[in-house]
Symmetry: C3
Subunit: 349 residues, 3 copies
């Protein structure tokens, strides 16, 4: 659905945000932009000091920024201790998202015993299974499939074309983007007489309040117990979360990450893009994994971890790969040199 647009005087905007401001209180603000692109009727923000040089030439009507950054700024400023968060609040004011109309679209197919709150919105082409419960103000966008026994919490929003498998429970204000599959079977297989036997997956998925799940992400149901995301977990696009994984509150996971089965991740972790985390590990709170890293061992100390290798010009990289292949031989050569130097083998060896 499209967002509306509202106009504020700078003074009103500052009041609505609870922020001090400098400059012309009557400046009219009705749009948003970047430091480079914002017009004189648009707001923008400065959070990353690296962009400070762009301040000199910005035409923006107002800039949300820290008070110290504003000291040398001639334009209008909204003074904020946390400019990026206040920027988010400013956009919410200027572009309020209209509430979806309550009611069930006539093309939706709803099981007789589903309980759908009167204030909920069920979009076109939706299918809702038996025993489903959809709570107040929840929005089920077009073409979603909600399988039997699912519960969708108050004010949750499934944007469209989301699949939620049997028995899953989504908390309040959860946002789920298109293409997401919650509650598909985990990958459980037993080898028997030379072939695979599927191990039925009888757990489900529980997603806490205020989680957000990015497009085409998959979260498998648990094998026996549930796969769990605590509250305020934020997951980007194309992330794979396998069965029995447990993710702590406030953890953020960037695009293309894969988390294998039964791994526990703590609170306030940040997993950068395309990293992989092996199964049955325990990652403690406040761990940062850098991009394209491979986590093969549990981590019990907060901090930053990684194994991503930055790309180089191909010829240099190929030579480096040759060197890697020589390391075994180098180990022998080093030792031989040390012996012939009468140093004997190094005590570090």
């Amino acid at each position: 659905m499209q967002t509306a647009t509202r106009t504020f005087r700078l003074e009103e905007l500052a009041g609505a945000l609870g922020l001090a401001f400098t400059g012309n209180p009557d400046c009219s603000i009705r749009d948003v932009g970047t430091l480079d692109s914002a017009d004189p009727d648009a707001a923008t923000f400065l959070a990353n000091p690296a962009y400070k040089p762009a301040l000199a030439s910005t035409r923006a009507g107002v800039v949300v920024m820290k008070p110290d950054m504003a000291e040398t700024f001639n334009g209008n400023a909204l003074l904020s201790a946390n400019p990026y968060a206040d920027w988010a609040r400013l956009i919410e004011l200027l572009r309020p998202q209209p509430a979806a109309a309550a009611g069930i679209h006539p093309s939706a197919v709803i099981a007789d015993d589903a309980q759908i709150d009167d204030s909920a919105h069920i979009g076109a082409q939706v299918a809702v299974g038996a025993g489903v419960r959809i709570e107040a103000r929840a929005v089920i966008g077009p073409a979603c499939v909600i399988d039997d026994g699912v519960c969708i919490g108050e004010s949750a929003r499934l944007v469209g074309r989301v699949y939620v498998g049997g028995g899953a429970h989504l908390g309040r204000r959860v946002i789920v983007h298109p293409g997401v599959v919650i509650g598909a079977d985990g990958f459980g297989l037993a080898m028997e007489q030379g072939g695979w036997r599927k191990v039925p997956q009888v757990g489900s998925v529980r997603i806490g309040d205020d989680c957000e799940i990015g497009a085409n992400t998959t979260i498998d149901r648990g094998a026996i117990e549930d796969t769990v995301l605590e509250h305020d977990v934020r997951v980007d696009n194309q992330v794979q979360i396998a069965h029995n994984v447990h993710i702590g509150a406030h953890t953020a996971i960037a695009g293309c990450v894969g988390i294998a089965g039964s791994t526990r991740i703590g609170r306030y972790c940040m997993i950068a893009g395309a990293s992989g985390i092996a199964g049955h590990l325990d990652i403690c709170d406040s761990v940062i994994i850098t991009a394209m890293s491979t986590v093969l061992d549990s981590i019990d100390q907060p901090g930053e971890y990684g194994s991503g290798i930055p790309a180089r010009p191909h010829a240099r990289w190929k030579r480096l790969l040759v060197r890697l292949g020589q390391l075994d031989e180098w180990a022998r050569r080093l030792r031989r040199l040390e012996q012939s130097n009468n140093n004997g083998p190094s005590r570090h060896e």
Copy 2:
């Protein structure tokens, strides 16, 4: 659809599974759990010896385990040579999945000439194209799209929101999870006068009996001939299988793996999560690829292969990256040391 629950006396359960048991034949079993969580009316299993310590404190009504593990166990045990496979069979007994009701949901759109067996189930919001054949007891879950000329084998189950492209053939008992796309065009492009020309992809996809395809996985149609999965191939979530790939029977592929075009993978291979396999390769039978590895060459010997690098604390990893960049210089320094030692260059160089 939700699974039902049944209750068994231990003696009955052992009989149904064809297993010997120890303990109280009248113990009533109606649930499943883990060694840690199972209640006295629940079954659990012990397959991985690492979990043996949990046996001492389990409250489970019965544990499926190997006879030698059971020797020192005081609780009820189902004695199995293959506990994980028998565990799967036990769940099938306790939580039988009800057969989907035969028939076509009124909201489904079915081409006039589609042949749908009377025992098949076609769910809500489904679209079935011209010339499609859906065989006995097949289940097409909600919001699936079955394009023209597709054949879905006996007892296959497309859980929901699956896309199957023109002419694809799925075998018997195949299970396809939500979000899967079978038979999209492969990535075939010819450069012509400074722009790309699409090379039409006229092959299709053939998937053998008893395959299982995980959520949001993609399997492209062949460029000329078909992309093929032999029988009992098991594919996890978010796997990308490019055009003309051929995967041998009983091979298992974990989440987030990518397999580039025209590669052949043998039987009984296991590809761990997030690995990538380049195009036009030949991987023989019984190859294991470890997690997050990059396969750039054909493999003609069974065994385990890999190139994943375990993550380390960031400061240590950054220092190691610096060392990597120095290897070329080290090669020169090593040689110079050897020369000055009158050893001459090593014969290994």
Copy 3:
């Protein structure tokens, strides 16, 4: 939809393609195949010289190839300066794709104010939002969701089950494969009082003419301005393109690549499979990234770059990982050897 089949005499085919030929002008061609599989009534092609040995035994009715390759060939040949591109044109002749019938399927749900050209095709189970514009001959396949304010260009084809989010603009002849999500929210989060606040994403997505987007790929809407693909960008399956990314014309991106937010990629780049490109980078024109590489820095020189490590037998790889862990110690040992050799520290150090 299924493709039709047509039959040509070789002479006619050569005329239609504007190519010279050698061999029997009356040879009847009605199918396509590979050098190995083509029947005597089928065409095939030879573009990669590595496949030249297969020429000797091919039974194909005609082979599209370069004139110099044809000199020693006894069969029928279509002589082409660009065999792979002419092969694409040949398939288009033999397997013309029928135009989709104009009109709106009765099961589609269309907002009252959507403007849909009379020549456009809207398939079964589609949902089209308010203010949408769908231009001449565009095809919206089954189960697509087109959100409010989207514009779909002339002759564009959304194969089926595609999601296009609010306000996105797709150019002429764009092809979008199933499972694609265009215009989901980017991953914008501000930490505030110990929890995440969502930063509303108010940009959209613009996709130029002649782009092709592979199955289950995701392209996020911009945070403030639009995410942009210029014309003739070709994207394979399961690619993640984050908010504010800008991709230049004629760039091709293979499967499973991830591109983080605000990165700019030039024209005529080729990104091989499963590579990751960090955010806020600038990649110049004509850059090639090899498979499974990690791009962490901007690139300002055309050429080939990479950091993928080819898999080795596991025992050898594990030993190499041990060596990697020893490099810090080796640095000390090398220096000590150099000092004891009275060479002093190397000037390269």
